[in-house]
Point group: C2
Chain length 754, copies 2
Amino acid sequence: MRRTVLALAVFLATTLFAQTPAADPPMLGFSTATAAKERALEAQFDSSLKRDELRDWMKRLSARPHHLGSTYDHDNQVFIAASFKSWGYDTKIEEFSVLFPTPKRRVVELIAPERFIAKLAEPPVPGDATSGQTSEQLPTYNAYSIDGDVTGDLVYANYGIPADYELLERNGVDVKGKIVITRYGGSWRGIKPKVAAEHGAIGCIIYSDPRDDGYAQGDVYPKGAYRNENGAQRGSVMDMPVHPGDPLTPGIGATADAKRIDRKDAEVITKIPVLPISYSDALPLLRALGGPVAPPDWRGALPITYHLGPGPSRVHLALEFNWNMVPAYDVIARMAGSQYPDEWVMRGNHSDAWVNGASDPISGLVAELEEARAIGELAKSGWRPKRTIQFAAWDGEEEGLIGSTEWAETHADDLRRNGVVYINSDTNGRGFLDAGGSHTLERLVTQVARDVPDPERNVSVLTRMRAHEAMLNMNAESRNAESKKEAHEHELIRLDALGSGSDYTPFLQHTGVAALNIGYGGEGGGGSYHSVYDSFDHYTRFGDPTFDYGVTQAKTTGRMVLRLANADVLPFELSTFADTMSRYLDELTKLAEKTRQDIDERNRLVRERTYEIAADPTKPFVAPKAEAAGEYLNFAPLQNAVLHLKESARAFDRAAAALPADATARQAAADQALMHIEQSLLRADGLPRRPWFRHQIYAPGFYTGYGVKTVPGVREAIEQKEWSEANRQIEIAAGVINAYIAQTEKNLETLRGK
Amino acid sequence: MRRTVLALAVFLATTLFAQTPAADPPMLGFSTATAAKERALEAQFDSSLKRDELRDWMKRLSARPHHLGSTYDHDNQVFIAASFKSWGYDTKIEEFSVLFPTPKRRVVELIAPERFIAKLAEPPVPGDATSGQTSEQLPTYNAYSIDGDVTGDLVYANYGIPADYELLERNGVDVKGKIVITRYGGSWRGIKPKVAAEHGAIGCIIYSDPRDDGYAQGDVYPKGAYRNENGAQRGSVMDMPVHPGDPLTPGIGATADAKRIDRKDAEVITKIPVLPISYSDALPLLRALGGPVAPPDWRGALPITYHLGPGPSRVHLALEFNWNMVPAYDVIARMAGSQYPDEWVMRGNHSDAWVNGASDPISGLVAELEEARAIGELAKSGWRPKRTIQFAAWDGEEEGLIGSTEWAETHADDLRRNGVVYINSDTNGRGFLDAGGSHTLERLVTQVARDVPDPERNVSVLTRMRAHEAMLNMNAESRNAESKKEAHEHELIRLDALGSGSDYTPFLQHTGVAALNIGYGGEGGGGSYHSVYDSFDHYTRFGDPTFDYGVTQAKTTGRMVLRLANADVLPFELSTFADTMSRYLDELTKLAEKTRQDIDERNRLVRERTYEIAADPTKPFVAPKAEAAGEYLNFAPLQNAVLHLKESARAFDRAAAALPADATARQAAADQALMHIEQSLLRADGLPRRPWFRHQIYAPGFYTGYGVKTVPGVREAIEQKEWSEANRQIEIAAGVINAYIAQTEKNLETLRGK
């Protein structure tokens, strides 16, 4: 009977009251009294945000191309620094010297079966005021492609990820000595030339298929937001999963006097030449391909039959670059904390763009600037943050997170000592909250999202985000009823784990500062990414015409900064991390099981000749070989560690929440404990084959690039079927979790005044 | 310990020996002695099959257009009849008189925002000898479209199924007074104008999107097998899920003196005009559409952004037909049985085509002719079938299964008395065995498939089909490990339940003769379906160039005919039907549960305003309304019936298998029991709203057309959320199953000699 009553109570609580905030909802890290003050402050903060400023700044900052090393890039940085100064911040510009190749020669030509020379140009379009600034625009290219002049038969390799080469092999297509053409998507672009080179290709072309961000998605620019036939996606192909930042100074700041390696020793420059092209340039190349028809999910939206090749399309690809050293300038603005000046709450967004970059990165940057201005105003009215706030505008993000990485490497010791949280943003637009980060921050993010109103609908951004997720889940046939229920009932936002792709990486994954990546989007649509069409005109027609979501971003990230800066005790929770680890462990055991079963199943099919029997004898087909059987892994060390982690984490969270308001020494100790606990998850010798990446729980995938791999040492070993390494990595992961527990237990004693 | 030994034995049996047939595998319906004779006969049958005959006949039969009512159609029938006669069959041509509209006027024109007149023509192509026979070709049109002359704004309605109109409504698009353009696929074509009319559209255009069978699938004709920009799919839009056959004589044979209804009372003629067009004709219409962008899975492969409309495309559609009565000729060839002359084993394929129809239907027909010739040879060598064999070549299949339906309606009483099995084929080609039919025949089909060699690989067609399924399963992420295991380990071929789309329908679903539909395919590819390009040249380049699969089809269906004709006792099993019913019941209970849960979930989202909150306010959006809650159904009557069915079925199968060789009277009784048991599953008043369809287990879907709905009364009531009707239909289904059980129990007593 009691169970029934309880079940009913839970039912009522979760269904009837789920959307109704209590009269005075708790605020993590604050007492009732300090929370009330914080709320008043946040209301004052909100009221001073002005969307016209965001618009004016975007217009100014995106008025001319402003890539790394360009005149206008530095002009912007000087303007940004002056702005921070005028708002009362202690501001400086830090300079680094970094390797930045720009094109000297770019040739893509089809030489057989017919002749075609790729335009490699994005022409001005009517109604776009900046698209005609051709003399200042960087041409379409991939930075950190090696120089090269190659000619070869063409092979279409889909997204160019390892599985795609397996399928080519099944179809009897070898890319050795060939040029591969791959389409954007499916992985970070830098993976494409890397994997192509691993398979023996001599060159790589990456094109934007209209299926992915062109006419198949919506009307093309300037009629609509999507990529037109001439739009091409610039972008870095530096091997960032190995390390980001300046290729010549891995692991150290690229200061004037830094010891640099030779360019030929730089691990992160591609092994083969690579160039991005538009779909009008790709069409003649793809149309002329012969060989097997590409499988259904390889086919794009061009009006052709997609073939794999090789040939008869024969392509000449020639690339030559100016391998210049250029200055990179980071703007850093600081407001010292009154109580904990050595605890740094950091907020950053990059300022450099590939061309005019109204969306990427100015849409995020102007929100950050507005936060800084509004917080400056709060300070002028007498308030001071307890903790130090630092705003940053990073340079050279597009080339490989260069500004943030060099800065974090230069200040690594300070960051390890003083870093509390790094809050990143980048592109922003109309739509839904998208939040990733360290899982200790799930409650903070959820509470902030609950308190920020959505500008389009009369609900919080939390409720709107959940409504959006509910719609996605309803449409996703694959999601089962249970996971839908779970998603609906889980109280907190599940933060996405961070892989890479923006400036949080050096903070989180190299120095161990807890990080967040926050933005809005999903309603703007568009295919202007890294093209000349990412302009003020494009953004104000499609991205966020009213700048309401710019202001909403400022309210969101500004609130996070303020709560982190003002809290009695840092608003972290260890138990949300512990729960997340428990989920990851579950994923890993299932992955190991499935990988083993898949090998078994496949080997059975090989043994029974099922591949050959099923294959069409009139088409080329190479049956796979049997592979070594999978092995059972010993997950016990990690399972035991995670079990204990949950207990310690809950005990710590309870103790931190129970600290009396006057226990200032113990509050300070709690701060120290919380701000440094993420560092327990790092190891000085990093991940296998990439020591720069030290975090053992979050990393970009070695073969996905941006896409995160959680518990990467273990996960990637299983994916690569390296069973001994997987067992070793389980021990290592268990080791960091046990260190985390030991540190937590020690901290807990301090908190309890023992 | 014993369990372990047993498990090991099962493991060895299923893994090591699965592909190794035993020395003398059993043959259902035969004793060891009669099986040996049957095997010898089948070897003789196989050895007389000649693929050159198939080629010669295809060349002759597809030499000129031969649609219903055409000169060459009858010329072919006379040739076929003469052939049957020459092989020793008692042959006749039966004539019916049926309504067959052909076009007098066809106009599709875009009148705004620009002007474009659709060509509506398939030009001759080089290398295709018959594509230029324009004077004899039927134009591209949909038979049984009503006459009409309408002008209206255009709306793109995807596949034109009910769910598509819900989505249009969500997007604020109303089709009332509009012309809809739908693409082929997703349902039988006749559903499209039916559902469009139900929603108030005034006209319907159906086009072949290149995604579905054009360049997105492969190179287009004549370079490759797929539909070129001018190819259009003719086809009937008669409302066949209500009833097939001549529209003026529902339920009765369309003999010269039949009582005919007035054309205006014919239920199966469309309510609005409808015409099929090619993708080159569709492109200008679709390109000019405005309104919301179509959702991702609505987008085809044309190089445009797909919009929903309505307008600004404005279309004029004008259609006028000659509503002529034409003769339909069925050729029927008969070889009387020696022991059971009143037990008819029937084998059929249609002879009429939309144009030249080399693939559809000649590829299947020539296999049937070769079977008939080879069986005629066996007879000349002294063998006689125990049971009567009848071969049929049906006319007017393309227009609505007219020849077979009129014949079955005319001979309904004979069929109910004498029909054993009807074995159908239609299009045939290179690839894998595809088998559907009554589930009492699963073991027969499996044993035949085990005994027929695949011409491309050195295995049986059973093993090859399984290898193909294994490959599909491996690639289908959605298939879970359990269902893969099940598919791998299930001993018998799981026959697809029959919906409609070929001539088995009147036999199975109207008169209750057990039926099979057998063919090969999956490797030919192609988009010649119902176009002038379905020619001898196309087929011999892509369909089955060597006619090896034509011969394989003859070996397969010929063997089925021979085993059914020669068996000691008919090779039926009731327990395979019982197992199938058990699976259907499981599906139905899950469907009911899911439908109820989905309503709940959707109503919750409506109540919490989740649809509005998630929607983009800059786009038209109409939130759905809450709907009546689902109801729990009483499945108990059907559950109890299926439980008892399994017991009775197994008891009967055991008793039939145990009949002594000399128990001829009881063998005859078993035959009578088995050949009539399917009729227990029919009810004289048929299915709700379509009395012609009497079978309570298998029917084409009311809103899918070809696609089967098993236990249709119950399933469609649940799908339509008609809970009271679902409960009534459960009772009805339980009633037929109980009748089946009662009949089986009675038969069982006879078998046991009681």
